[in-house]
Amino acid sequence: MRMILTALALIAASAAGAPAQPETVERSRTVFAVLCEDDPAMTQIRETALDAHLAHVAAHVERYAIAGPLLDETGAMTRSLFLIYAENEAEARAFMARDPYVAGGLYAQMEYRRFVPAAGQWIGGVIWDQPRDR
């Protein structure tokens, strides 16, 4: 709801001709970035487990800030990025383990990082206070 209100406020500000200054917004939930690299020997999982993967992700949409495949220079899916909400790394790993792509062995490598969403359209501004004269 906060994001919707922020977006509406931004649209209203834009319509009024206000400068596109970011708002300062509050930090909220803990986010983990999970960068996954396909195992070249397991790429068929992307197709064979597609229905189950999409069903899983859609059923838990509230756990994802953003998720989707990464494309190589030929346009092929070779990695995936998940920005997920989790209290800690163990919870993040447990949640990811339930994804049919993970359980099926698609990924040779999964890197977990704490990510602080500090700026951008998703949060509707920036998280740091801004000098009035900037």
């Binding site: 983990f32 597609l50 989707g68 920005l83 602080v116 700026a119 920036v126």
Partner: protein
Amino acid sequence: MTCPTVARPKTPCFLILAHDIEDGERAARLRAEHLDGHLEHVEAHWRRYVTAGPIRKPGAPRIIGSSFLVLASDEAGARALMEGDPYFTCGLYGRVEIYAQTLAIGDYLGGKTWESAEAVRHLAAGG
């Protein structure tokens, strides 16, 4: 919870993973020295970012890099935005990865972008 289907974003998105140099002390110094310029750059262009921020190993306090999801018409546009960021020009990052990112689902989008598995099966198959 029913997941709504939403329109695909019109502007391409790029994931830029920037890894700090191995020398942690020097990286921390560069982050501090160029913080003002970096924040000013990000503020000035904040609508170009889906999201951006520092990354850490889970449970560790030290920043080890930055992640940027950037909206740009092409890779050159994404790189040009990055080259205006003092963090990219001061030698902070030892390695930078860039990928074409499909924004497929999440609360940023307000749902999922596929109508059905059939509609995206050819993409998953490498088509």
